[in-house]
Amino acid sequence: MIVGAVVLGYDKIAIDRGDRHDGVHIIRRLGSGRCSCSRRSLCSSPGGSRAHWTVRADAGRGRVGSRGSDEPVPDLRLPVLGEEIARGIPGFIERSGAAAAALAGNPTEAGAMKNLQRRLVLLVSGILVAAAAFVSYRAGERFEHSLTQQRLGMTQEIGRSVAVVIEKALTFGVPFDQLVDTERFLDAVKRDNPGVDYIIITTPDGQLRYSTDLSSLSNLAGLRGSLAAWDGRERSMRIGRYFNTATAINGKGRHLGWLHLGERANVIEQLLRDIVFDILTVLVGRDAGGVRADAIAAGGVLRIATACHA
C-alpha cells in the first residue's frame, strides 16, 4: 500500500540550456561543413554528367527527333501559374503525347533518357547518403562527449550509494576483509543498473577483494593491472573498452579501498546497437505480418542514418 512518495525536482533550466547549447553548437559547426560538402559534391560532378545534361537540353529543344527520326519532337513546354495553366494544360498534354510517341518510335533516344534518369537518381542518392553520413558523424562527435558526461554522472551516483552502505558496515566494526555477502549485494546493484558492466572493490594497492561476476569481461588481466595502478587522481578514466569510475571507501578515518564501477565506453555504439536491434525485431516481425521487405529495409537504413548514433 502506498503511504507516500519521495519527490526530487531538478533544474529544468540547466538541462534545457545544456542541450540547447549543444544543439546550437552542432548546428554552427555543421554550417561550414555542410555547405562545403554540398558545394564540393555538386561541383565535383564529372564531366560525363554535364555532357548528359547537354544531351537532355537538346532533347528539350526539339532536336532529338532529328537524329533518328524524320519527325521532329514537339516542344515540351511546361504550363505555369494562373491563366498560363488554363491555356497550357491541353496543349501540354497534346505535346507530351506526341513527344512520347516520337520517343517510343526511337528506341535509342528512349534508352539514353532512361540511362540519364538512372544516373541522376544515383548521383542524387549518393550525395544524399554522403551528406547524411557527414551530418550524423559531426553530430555524433559532439553529442557523444555530452552524453558520456551524463552517464559518468550517473555512475558516480551509483558508486556513492554503494560506498555509503559499505562505510556504514565498517562503522559498525566489521573488518574490511570480512564483509559478509558483499558479492550478492554488488550483483543486486548491478542488476538494478543495467548500464553497469562490473563493480569491483579493491584495497588501496589495487588487490581485488570483492566483485560481481567478471567472466564476461574482455581483457580481465589488463583491467586488473590498470586497477592495481589506480592512483585516484581522476574519478573516471577509460580502461580498454570501459569507462572506470572509482569511489574511495573510507573507514575509521583512513582510506581502506576503492570501489570501481565500469560501463562500456562507447555510448554511441551502444545506442546504435539498440537501434539495429529494433530494426531486426521489426524485420523478424515482418515475416509474420507480411509487410513489404523493401519498405522496412529502407526505413531501417533511414533510421540508422538519421539516428546519428544518439
Binding site: 502506498i2 503511504v3 507516500g4 519521495v6 525536482g9 538541462i15 550525395i127 556513492r160 555509503v164 546519428c308
Partner: protein
C-alpha cells in the same frame, strides 16, 4: 519561377535540375539534423532521469527501512539529513521532499513550488514504481514508498 519552367527562354537545364536537387538535399539534411537533435535530447533527459533515480531510490530505501521497524517518516530524524546530503551532492537537484499519502510535505529540503499535482500522481500510481512530472521550473522524479504488507 516561371522562367525556370518555360521551355526555350528558360534557364539552362543544369539549373533547372540542380535547383530541385539542391532543395531536396537541403531538406533531407535539415530533417536529419532535426531528428538527430531530438534523439540526442531524449537520450540526455533519460540519462538525467536515471541519475536522479539512483538518489531517489536510496532515499526511498531509507524510508522503507524505517517503516519496517515501525518508524514513520515524520519521526525519522535522519531523513532531513539524508535529503540535505542528496541535494548537496547531486548536481542540478533543486529540491527533495517526502510526502505522505495526502501529498502533504513531511520533510523538505529546497523549495518546491506550492501548486503541485502530487496527490493526483499518488492516486494514479497504482503498482508503478515511479513517475515523471514537471512544473514551471523543474522536472521531477517521484518514487512512491509502500508499507511492507503491500
Amino acid at each position: 519561377m516561371t522562367w525556370l519552367l518555360l521551355g526555350r527562354r528558360s534557364a539552362p537545364l543544369w539549373l533547372r535540375l540542380g535547383l530541385p536537387i539542391s532543395l531536396i538535399i537541403a531538406l533531407a539534411i535539415g530533417f536529419i539534423s532535426f531528428l538527430n537533435y531530438y534523439n540526442y535530447r531524449k537520450t540526455y533527459q533519460q540519462l538525467n532521469v536515471a541519475r536522479i533515480m539512483v538518489v531517489a531510490r536510496d532515499l526511498r530505501q531509507a524510508i522503507e527501512s524505517g517503516l519496517n521497524v515501525g518508524l514513520a517518516p515524520r519521526s525519522n530524524t535522519q531523513l532531513a539529513t539524508s535529503l540535505a546530503v542528496a541535494k548537496d551532492h547531486t548536481e542540478g537537484v533543486r529540491f527533495a521532499a517526502i510526502i505522505d499519502e495526502a501529498a502533504k510535505k513531511l520533510v523538505e529540503v529546497g523549495g518546491a513550488a506550492a501548486n503541485q499535482d502530487w496527490l493526483q500522481r499518488l492516486k494514479s500510481a497504482g503498482e508503478e514504481l515511479s513517475w515523471l512530472g514537471e512544473d514551471d521550473d523543474t522536472y521531477q522524479v517521484g518514487l512512491p514508498y509502500r508499507t511492507a504488507s503491500a
